[in-house]
Amino acid sequence: MDSGGRPSAPGSDGPQHPASDEGDAPGRLERVRAAAAARAAEGAARVRAFVRRVERTPPPPGPFRPGFWRSPLRGPWLTSVFGLVLLIGIPLLFVTGLLSYAAYNPGLGALNDQTPDKGLLGFYLFDWPTRPYWLYRLTQGVHVTLGVVLVPVVLAKLWSVIPKLFEWPPSRGAAHALERLSLLALVGGVVFEFATGILNIQLFYVFPGSFYTLHFYGAWVFIAAFVVHVSLRLGRMTRSLRSRSLLTELRTGLADTRPEPPDPDGLVALEPAAPTMTRRGALALVGSGSLLLLVVTAGQSIGGRLRRTALLAPHNRDPGGGPKDFQVNKTAASLGVTPAHVGPDWRLEVRGRGPTLVFTRAQLLAMPRHAAALPIACVEGWSTDDQHWSGLRLADLAALAGLPDAGSVLVESVQPHGPYRSVVLRGNQIHDLRSLLALQVNGADLSLDHGHPARVIVPANPGVNNTKWVRRLTFRT
């Protein structure tokens, strides 16, 4: 923004810093400079001449011309309102996203970790708790639903600043060029993150690679640019928000809608068209877009009677396998699990200290069983209401295996291929009394799609970590 003493191009009349001429540290700087003085000066002069030439070049026709953008509503105030919503929404998305990664317990090894190269980016990881039991249902429901709901706000924010993409000259010096590079990461990042997330929840796997890798590292690229953007623009945003009163804008009709006063950033149109919409209309339009998306989406995470209101969300219905059936993430057939895998020959192996214990399903059913009411909550944001599970406590199985204080358990499925057929659970998950190797749900034997003959169900655990069709539990200290 600041052209810093150089002759500024027409239109770039940003606030000029008063030159505080304190002088350079004389000795060292001068010596270093002396070494390449002549050539550097020559080069610098050439660069300066080039920059000046570019600056004097009139902008090419079209969107680069200042008169091209004519919406009378564009201006720093409107941009700042959208910016404020995103300033609250994006950090919430980021934090719930980080929590989701922690919920997988990636610290327990490669089986749980889709991004093992995370390095420092996993600095915040902690042992995922089991209470409240609806924790993951809440955080991931918020993550996905909020992401969907913010789409109109992101679109509006990008619309409101589009003239900046066509600034002329394209760069007014090093600071400006670096900032624009960061903006590429910001805009590319926000669209990339929203696109990968929204495609993934609809099982439309067209993105190039593992969703976890792309969405996790993409989030860090985006948030790095987001933090810069906020720190460079926060002051301008608060000043712009104070420049007009929201209440007054909400009372202003079309006849009284005027463009904002000209701004140094060039958001306000130089030759504005007559307004066809008020500012309150623009805010209402974006807000109703968000509200509509909320209505057709949130029900899949709230459940109950509201599930049916999620008209366009992927898990808005019961899959129709009986009155007490509930949503399935991946059916047995889609993962290659056949009735033959779990027929009369199926056995559960339990390993720990001492020899491997082997159980038939009938033997498991004869053991003391416990109940727990727990939801299935998926990384895709949808979740079920509490289901009534019945089965053996993982803590009891750990004790049977000779490791009552087990620190972790490796759970393996009969599922022949695909990710998440094995997972590691942590000690706190084993020892929560609601953590079960479930044999029944809602008063009936598990169906094949829900993990017959036995599945794990742990409070606050991401859905895919509640392994279905379990064949072996290996308890470890």
């Binding site: 923004m1 600041d2 810093g4 003493g5 810093h17 030159a19 350079d24 991004t115 190269d117 995370k118 420092l120 789409v151 109109p152 990008l158 589009i162 993409l165 007014r172 010096g173 090093a174 600071a175 900032e179 960061s182 590429l184 805009v187 590319g188 990042g189 669209v191 990339f192 495609l199 609809q202 099982l203 190039p208 690679g209 890798t213 792309l214 590292y217 993409g218 860090w220 690229v221 790095a224 640019a225 810069v228 066809t276 919409m277 209309g281 339009l285 877009g289 509509l292 057709v296 008209l311 366009l312 969300a313 992927p314 898990h315 899959p319 949503q327 399935v328 059916t331 889609s334 799609d449």
Partner: protein
């Protein structure tokens, strides 16, 4: 300091913040690009391009064309500003399509088998929502037209000063 500002174009804090951010970006980018770097880069940069240079120009152009094409259809009957009666349902329906197009257009191939749910319902639902949105907008427009025309007729009945001036 002044020389730095002149050379760089902003204060040193600006540079520090940006360099710190780029370092984090680099750290994450190395990992993001670890597998299929070209395809991921195309997606990342393409995301910005698709929005800024395709989606935004397209909807802006659609809005401008709608205004230009329909502007000259004005009759002598008074008309309310009508563009928003078109904009609002188009925006709302469009944003639903933008978010849920894989399900609406039946593109999520694994979905029916994985979730044991039919994907065929979404197109119908989206069309129904779209119909309701445009229908409600048409109704609102019709009511507004009626209100305006009644007001105009009431004006005609009592001769007002300046009634005969050219429009």
């Amino acid at each position: 300091m002044a020389r730095f500002v002149r050379w760089y174009g902003s204060g040193p804090l600006h540079l520090l913040v940006l360099v710190a951010s780029f370092a984090l970006t680099g750290y994450a980018l190395v990992r993001l690009f670890a597998v299929r770097p070209l395809a991921v880069a195309i997606w990342f940069v393409g995301a910005a391009i698709v929005h800024d240079l395709i989606l935004l120009p397209l909807y802006s152009l659609a809005d401008l064309s709608a205004q230009a094409v329909l502007r000259h259809r004005a009759t002598h009957i008074p008309q309310p500003p009508w563009i928003n009666y078109l904009r609002v349902p188009a925006f709302l329906s469009g944003v639903l399509l933008l978010v849920w197009f894989p399900l609406i257009l039946d593109l999520a191939i694994p979905y029916p088998d994985a979730a044991r749910l039919s994907e065929g319902v979404y197109l119908g639902r989206w069309l129904a929502i779209t119909a309701v949105l445009f229908g409600a907008s048409a109704l609102a427009f019709a009511l507004e037209l009626r209100r305006l025309r009644r007001a105009a007729r009431a004006d005609e009945k009592r001769p007002a000063p300046g009634h005969d001036t050219a429009p």
